[in-house]
Amino acid sequence: MAKHSVLIEVSPAADSRYGAVAGASANAAEIAANISGIAVDPSFGVIDIPATRPSVSAVFNAGDIDEAFDQPTRYVMRGDIEIEDTERIEAENPGVRIYSDPEIEVCPICPGSGPLGNAGTVASLLGRTALQGAGMTGRNVLLAIVDTGLNINYLRSKGVVAPFDGTRSWVPRPGLTPGALPVGHGTMCAYDATIAAPRATLLDVALLLSNRPGGTVMEGLLSDAVLAYRHLVNVMRAPRRPGELRSMVVNNSWGMFHKSWDYPVGHHGNYSHNPNHPFNVIVRTLAVNGADIFFAAGNCGRDCPDGRCQGITNAGITGANSSPYVTTVAGVDVTKTRVGYSTSGPGTLYPRKPDIAAYTHFAGSGVYAADGGTSAACPVAAGVVAAFRSRFHYNPANPVTSPAAVRSLVSRLAEDRGSVGFDFDYGFGIINGRRMAAVSSLAVEEPFQVSSLPRAEIEAYDNEMAANARAYAARPEPAESERAVGVGA
């Protein structure tokens, strides 16, 4: 039978056998010798709990006033027992009580927790000053917020000065004006992205304002995302002036919460695990055209998942949120501790997910009590890369400026947390703007010769992903009985 850690309390006054136990000189080994079935931990020692004067109410409520004052010094030790022996030990040893000694952890930040830190805290942690000192402000970088829409007036009222490009923005239906949409999730994301990239050019891609049948005010269908991404591909492929470089960072703080919304895994029409799904295909196309794409890891973490996860916390990161062509972002609070709702990997399209972590659950935009969820972590990270891109623009002629190369760089420069190296909670660690700024200073003379970005590795990665797609297409279809699940319209 398994041993369990317990706390052992001894009250000497209750049994003359323990009279030898005297304050700090008490010997745990001697106690253990007298109690069979307990293995005392000598490293813990003996902690004395002094007799305490009872409170006035205890005195007056006690049946016997003398008993109320009769609280002798007690001694506490730590040991291991078999739980089944608890009653026997207490019965055979008057004055001995056994208490559980459960493992404890620092309570993680959960959805209902108050904010921790503020946007200034996050800016400091990200190294915004260092980024700006290196000329990394996001200037001339497009920062597309694919979300519920932006409200530029609100952002201006919060001190956001980032330029806004309405002509290259996108809305899912006529009658919606980019940049003048209701204040909500998208506005929060834009605010958080500009913490590190105050001069990036915001694009409003109001994907989640669908009017398709079945939609509600703040949701959409994945087919809308196909259209939105097609628009972004067009922006990246639009004619350029000679020598013009174009960089775009794309933030996605949304996803599909539960597998019941999808065809089952193995079905040819599945989204969550299927590289051949049209949206997963066009995500790759946008990345190949030079966009740095960020997706939130999700809020189905094991400690306190969003209710929409329906209690499923071990499904990993699914769909495009786990694409090998995107940077998947987990959430940490400003103490650099994973928030309890941040979904852990692996990913279903690419296992080594999330890639990195970034800060969330702080007082920021004012849209909500806390800018929270991996929803906020994602744009915080996207903003750092938008800032970086203002010095290292994407150049189609130079592979070391590709999104894959920058993702590799960001991962290598992340501040390791959790297990040493990569782990499924923090990925490669917390994004670190100071280190990215330092790369800039090292590379000023040869801005596109960052030696740590290996072309061969990137090509091998692409080949591996193509093989994954072929393998999925060759999988046997699931049994007919597994297909009877709800699927979006």
Binding site: G186, L208, G255, W261, N270
Partner: protein, 79 residues
């Protein structure tokens, strides 16, 4: 969603409707024919589930699907 591959290049909506015998109410015309991968000449169309079976490979046109079209939502605030 259905994916079609057309080596000769982007087909028009009318070409797609004619090719698969789709009526106007069976294909989402506002969605159109969306190029998703220029390398493989892949396009996506949005059709009614009842009409998906009409979209079959034939000639040099390949067809794949139907693919799920799940609801997507912002991840914050929690529900």
């Amino acid at each position: 969603m259905m994916t079609i591959r057309v080596p000769s290049g982007a087909p028009s909506l009318d070409e797609v409707k004619q090719r698969y015998g789709l009526e106007s109410g069976e294909i989402d015309e506002s969605f159109g024919v969306v190029e998703i991968d220029p390398e493989t000449h892949s396009y996506t169309i949005l059709v009614e589930a009842s009409a998906a079976s009409k979209v079959q490979p034939g000639g040099d046109w390949e067809a794949e699907g139907p693919f799920s079209n799940p609801t997507i939502e912002p991840m914050w605030p929690p529900k």
